[in-house]
Amino acid sequence: MQLITCPWCGPREETEFHYGGAATVPYPADPAALGDDAWARFVFVRPNPKGPATEQWSHAAGCRRWFTAVRDTRTHRFLATVDIQPEVPR
């Protein structure tokens, strides 16, 4: 079984973790100004890279904290796991 390193708990089995999709998707700065296409892009479109991807993971069956990971989608190898990035002030 693959081991994932929680920034707080250290290496744990992958089944303890929950995948939370792409990280760093900013909420639109001026939502009222968005047209339908821009909304569709915000709601539905996420990066889908073949290679390193920046993602949110949660240590669901452990400390239950969220963190940011960089994972290579070709190999499932985690390149880095770090504390969740603080929200960018708007």
Partner: protein
């Protein structure tokens, strides 16, 4: 010139003649009227129907690996059309009708076996949703019945319909015309026909980029040189995002591993197909005798054609709960493909911001069953430059208009 004598052949080393190849392996020409990217089932079927229905044969199918070695080689071959919404019933039922005559059309055996599919219901909500889907199917001319637990046991005696399991079977929908086929034969049948029509099937030719001129793509960069094109049809399944990123077209696709497994060969024990969304497994028995099982995607994305063993473990647990008779069967192999999943579990088909690029993707876990229907409609879309009516509801624009075709209910375990 010297003559050499061949070394003596040891007894038993005589190999039979290689059987006739089913297609040529031509060098790519420098230009085609239509270039299809991706030589899986969809690309090959599109090529066949371009020739058969539209007389368009100056066509190349470019495949980065070997022909039909992607999801076409990895799927569990379930074919059905019992989807909920009218739009889906339209395309999947069109496909099922084509399956029913495909062996004749291709002149090639595809082992299409209409053994029916049971979609089990385990909760009251499952029952309500299933009965609703049966009614919707009938209104769309799709064969469908609702069966109680006793009738389920008549169709498939090895399903555990007793009360002493975690999620007892409350009944099932049944589509008798559903079935399985031999996926490789399907691909080879389409490939052979396309090749006979003069279409070039080009293997080990990866498309790495595009040359554009305004809102047209005028050429493709490939690992076997540049190729100029009239129209481009994208049929790259799990790798579609890689190509769309090159073209700068945003699309709501996520590429996930989807796994499946087979048991050792067994006597015929399983007469139909059984799917359970709630307990999360589906099972059929292939012609040779192996039990073929699958379930859902691995949650994280991945392009590596590899998934987690925990997923396999979970689906085997579900299978043994539903089919106690499988408890001693051995797992022989498991594998994964890369499937392109959309937010509404429906495909994306149609035109793109580029005038001469048509798109076919997002079939996720369930596009094998659509192969002939999609090929038919994508050939039409390619030939006419506008979507065939059966695929028109599946355009990329539906994510902006909000007209989603939400098939999570019918497709959650998918296939």
């Amino acid at each position: 010139m010297t003559t050499t004598t061949a070394p003596p052949t040891p007894p038993g080393a005589h190999l039979p003649e290689h059987p006739d190849f089913l297609w040529r392996n031509p060098e790519p020409k420098r230009a085609y009227d239509v270039v299809i990217v991706g030589g899986g089932g969809h690309g090959l079927a599109t090529a066949h129907y371009l020739a058969r229905n539209h007389g368009i044969t100056n066509v190349a199918v470019l495949e980065k690996g070997w022909l039909a070695g992607g999801n076409m080689a990895r799927n569990t071959t379930l074919i059905r059309s019992n989807y909920l919404w009218d739009e889906s019933a339209g395309i999947y039922e069109h496909a099922l009708k084509l399956w029913e005559g495909l062996e004749e059309d291709l002149g090639y055996p595809i082992l299409f076996s209409q053994r029916g599919v049971l979609n089990l219901a385990h909760t009251e909500q499952d029952v309500r949703d299933s009965v609703r889907r049966v009614e919707a199917n009938r209104l769309n001319g799709v064969d469908a019945e609702w069966l109680g637990p006793d009738e389920v046991a008549k169709v498939c005696p090895i399903v555990n319909v007793s009360d002493d399991i975690r999620y007892p079977v409350q009944g099932a929908t049944f589509q008798p015309r559903a079935g399985i086929a031999k996926h490789d034969y399907v691909a080879w049948g389409f490939a052979r026909r396309a090749d006979e029509a003069g279409i070039d099937l080009i293997q080990h030719c990866e498309v790495t980029g595009f040359t554009t001129d305004g809102d047209r793509v005028i050429g493709l960069r490939t690992t076997r040189g540049d190729i100029a094109c009239g129209t481009v049809a994208l049929c790259a399944a799990g790798h579609t995002s890689v190509l769309l990123d090159e073209l700068g077209i945003p699309a709501p696709l996520q590429s996930h591993p989807l796994q499946a497994l087979v048991s050792e060969l067994l006597e015929p024990v399983h007469p139909t197909i059984v799917m359970s969304n709630a307990v999360h497994v589906y099972v059929s028995q292939a012609h040779k005798g192996e039990l073929v099982m699958g379930a859902g995607i691995d949650a994280p994305t991945g392009y590596g054609q590899r998934g987690s063993f925990s997923i396999i473990e979970r689906q085997m647990a579900a299978a043994v709960e539903l089919f106690p008779v499988f408890a001693r069967a051995h797992l022989l192999r498991s594998w994964a493909g890369v499937v392109d999943v959309t937010p509404d579990a429906s495909p994306i088909i149609g035109c793109t911001p580029y005038d001469n690029v048509v798109l076919n993707c997002g079939w996720g876990t369930g596009g094998f069953k659509a192969t002939p229907g999609l090929g038919w409609c994508l050939a039409h879309t390619t030939a006419h430059g506008e979507p065939h009516p059966l695929v028109a509801p599946f355009g990329l624009d539906r994510f902006s208009t909000g007209a989603l075709v939400d098939e999570h209910g019918a497709a959650a375990v998918a296939h």
